[in-house]
Symmetry: C2
Subunit: 339 residues, 2 copies
DNA sequence: TTGTACGCGTTATCAT
DNA sequence: ATGATAACGCGTACAA
């Protein structure tokens, strides 16, 4: 279906003026007679004329579309996307979102698809599976802006908006130490994940600074899901010296540990304190509420969009930028031993 | 930045053939000499030629872009969008997402923005504030496909993908009755909201069928947020005959009630049972876990995209379609009084 | 099988 | 102040 829409040609014909006059009038160029401009504007509104952005894009060589590729739409990414959207909108850009579902294959496919969908460049957060970033080379060869956020990878080239994960972890663990915890365990992700490693580093740093021993049996590399953390927590509870605090690299994992601890009849935070990472809404909804390291997701998204547009408007020889954000610890019941 | 990209013209010049030959070869048209096609394909790959979709869109008069407008990115919509994306991708379409943040003003603005961004039509879920749907008339005048999902409004014209909310509510309340509950309260939204009313209707239906009295003090019209439900629940507990079960029109509200009940030292489900609506992940994560009515979000999204594409490919005189989905009750600890 | 020429809707350049 | 015309990159009748 879809019938033919009116174009500036139709307007020109109807009003006996040239297309250029119509074009100029509609775009409010100065050199137009006020009379004719009014006639043109009036008639355009009558027939509900809408400019065809595709044609404009072709001439101007831009689509004003930004491709966004995220692993999923959990709270963090949904919020970040809102930030991207807001900044993009302000600058007159529209966002095309695509989810990789944490799958490398889909990430590659979606990268292609987005680039073929007229987007002017990409804002990307890598999938958890991604261990190869060749598919982005194409984007760069095209000289298109490429901004990564939240997730990094060795050898990745492009502007980046990252969180100081190490600092976040260190802050969280130091807080647990301040609360009197001495046997703090780390529930982390697979050993090759950049984010997990940064947070682990922050964890060990905090322990070192406090002069506490780093015990390998307190450092767990598991899956991201709740179930995995639940099982790992049960194992931790079997230790001769079970931990008196848990720092989890993600809220899902924190919730798994939380469940295991509760089921064993132990008290939170009295017996075992917990701090998670991401500050998902659920953390404040459960009882006792759970402390968590919050990321400025919205701000990070905004910044990503800003870097994108900056690069778009830049001249030859743009240098990739790196913006690092500082996380903020949300202290809740699960880690408040000292009232 | 952004340098000039190679076009079929460049390829034609380099290979001493005409642009039409290149165009045909690249799109695998049959009437091309196998020799020349190989030369062309080979060279195109060498210089990493990427077709300019903007130009193609202009000629073909389609952008293969679907505009999606959702109120937010909570679990339901995130999942629905995944469904839309999947079906769209299969059909060669790309999705442009925009969030209204439950604001009428943003909905209107985003509708305009999307339509100006070359999308071929819209898949929309209304914002909670929306009480006027004039802004969609424009889309329809353009003969563009318009599909609404999840949220309806009187007088709204377009294809629709809805949930049988009444049935969902009735199922939930009947289940509570089966579990022995007799004083069931309904935590609903503002009185002018279609979804809230449908669910309220299901609630009263179930009571009627069981021959139970419908008490107005058990029917609450509040806000969607947890806090509002929390306060309303506290009020309910003050009644001479407090309810022995809560059916909430949304999970957030269920969580608010949940919190109030727990704080008052009452047991769930023994003293008061709870059923929510939406089946957000959190419902299975808390303890006791909370029953909830699940919507087939992914399938609903897929269907919306299918209707969209169907309409796009249809001839003159397409009739709007209505697809209704059946919800499914997830029974969990919060409503299992009979083991 | 291949080439020529025009059109898609708009903007930009150069005249008038 | 306005008009004619050539782009933008690609697809496609029509010709050859």
């Amino acid at each position: 279906m879809r019938s033919k829409l009116p174009t500036i040609k139709d307007i020109a014909k109807e009003l006996n003026v040239s297309v250029s006059t119509v074009s100029r009038a509609l775009r409010g160029m100065p050199e137009i007679n006020e009379e004719t401009r009014k006639r043109i504007v009036k008639y355009s509104e009558e027939i509900d004329y809408q400019p065809n952005m595709v044609a404009t894009s072709l001439v101007k060589r831009n689509s004003h579309l930004i491709g966004v590729l995220v692993p999923n739409m959990d709270y963090f990414f949904a919020t970040a996307v809102k930030g991207i959207d807001e900044a993009a909108m302000e600058a007159g850009y529209t966002v095309v979102i695509s989810q990789s579902n944490e799958s490398y294959g889909r990430e590659v496919a979606n990268t292609q698809r987005l680039m073929n969908s007229q987007v002017e460049g990409l804002i990307v957060s890598l999938s958890r599976e991604t261990q190869n970033v060749e598919h982005f080379k194409r984007v760069q060869r095209k000289q298109s802006p490429l901004v990564f956020f939240d997730r990094d990878f060795p050898g990745l080239e492009g502007s980046k908006v990252l969180l100081n994960n190490e600092l976040g972890a260190e802050t969280a663990v130091s807080h647990l130490i301040d609360q009197g915890c001495r046997r703090i365990a780390y529930l982390g992700g697979q050993a090759n994940l950049a984010i997990s490693n940064s947070r682990e580093k922050g964890y060990t740093e905090a322990l070192k600074k406090a002069g506490l021993e780093i015990k390998s049996e307190y450092i767990i590399h598991g899956e991201f899901e709740k179930e995995s953390a639940y099982n790992n927590m049960l194992d931790l509870l079997q230790l001769a010296e079970p931990p008196d605090a848990i720092f989890a690299m993600g809220d899902r994992m924190a919730l798994g540990a939380y469940k295991a601890i509760k089921e064993k009849g132990l008290r939170i935070p009295e017996d075992i304190a917990i701090v998670g990472f991401n500050d998902e809404p659920i953390m404040s909804m459960v009882s006792p509420s759970i402390s968590s390291v919050a990321q400025p997701a919205f701000e990070m998204g905004k910044m990503a969009a800003r870097l994108f547009i900056e690069q778009l408007n830049s001249q030859e020889g743009y240098k990739n930028r790196l913006e690092t954000f500082v996380p903020h610890l949300m202290i809740r019941e699960s880690s408040m031993k000292i009232k």
